[in-house]
Symmetry: C2
Subunit: 191 residues, 2 copies
């Protein structure tokens, strides 16, 4: 396999619905893009919110855009413990049933999310043409080996295929640090 | 291989020399054990220190006993970034040449460590009899597979054999969370 996959490390972040943007930042507020992300059309926003958990608050958590149908908070296991949420579930993005909630605080208001807090499943985004080249399909599980002093082989890596996706291996900060990975580092997949 | 290895998750902690204990907690102060650790003779202490980095301070970091010849601070990669130390080196315990320093602050004084900050290499402690059973020797590198949703295979796991060691697989919090490991969970090794 010749084509390599760039690593994208995900720090804690929040996706918001327009309804929740309205409450947190004011009626009709539009998110302010400040930096494009690896996936086409996705961007980091100037906006930040505070996450108020049962035990502690994590301040200044970055909002990612564009808005989604449902708000979602993506954290590391350590973030979940810090907030007092205990062990947060590992889920694919959007699979929020039975997940814990959290209070979001913005400059103009507060939102009590009834659920939506997850640790995102490690996954590889790929364009349909990449999937054909690798011989994999949407929702396949593959392995990703990482070389080096903290070398390891990630198992259960979800493949997500779409015509709008760019090739990128997403892991959270703890997964990245456990493997000594850097943003943009190139990895392979094993079927 | 029938004998399983219990996991020990290491949060950030500090080992101190008696000289540094004297400075931080007062001349002649003896560390106060509050909880035995997995390795015989090792214990968590009532004492805590603040780590003052170039960027930020991490307060209330646990001291582990007994005292050692040289002070050593064991952190996660994220802790290193938080403090402003950048990428801290992965080292075996005690291999401190060329590692970054840090300022320690205790109730009675401060110590400027010239070096000694590391991310500890993932390792398995084992008694000499365990090593014989597994067919490994001190300083071997082995693999440790972990099952489950966050399943992975740790590579480059250092084997440390001694007559005073108890069987235990030590990883830091980020490595543990990346694999969904819990304290006391049982794992295997692969040669």
């Amino acid at each position: 396999m010749s084509k390599k996959i760039p690593v994208g490390l995900s720090n804690k972040h929040v996706h918001l619905s327009q309804k929740d943007v309205d409450i947190l930042f004011g009626e009709g507020h539009q998110l302010t893009p400040i930096k494009d992300l690896g996936q086409p059309g996705q961007y980091a926003c100037d906006e930040k919110v505070d996450l108020v958990g049962p035990k502690r608050t994590i301040s200044g958590v970055r909002v990612l855009g564009p808005v989604r149908k449902v708000s979602q908070v993506e954290l590391s296991f350590s973030d979940g413990i810090t907030l007092g949420l205990g062990d947060i579930p590992v889920r694919d993005s959007g699979m929020l049933e039975g997940t814990p909630g959290i209070k979001l605080v913005g400059p103009k208001g507060e939102v009590e999310m009834p659920n939506g807090v997850i640790a995102a499943s490690r996954h590889i985004h790929m364009h349909t043409s990449d999937a054909a080249e690798y011989g994999v399909k949407d929702k396949d599980l593959v392995k990703v080996p990482v070389e080096g002093q903290r070398g390891l082989v990630f198992d259960n890596v979800l493949v997500r295929v779409h015509d709008t996706y760019a090739l990128e291996f997403h892991v959270d900060i703890e997964e990245g640090n456990a493997a000594g990975l850097k943003n943009g580092q190139l990895v392979d997949l094993i079927k």
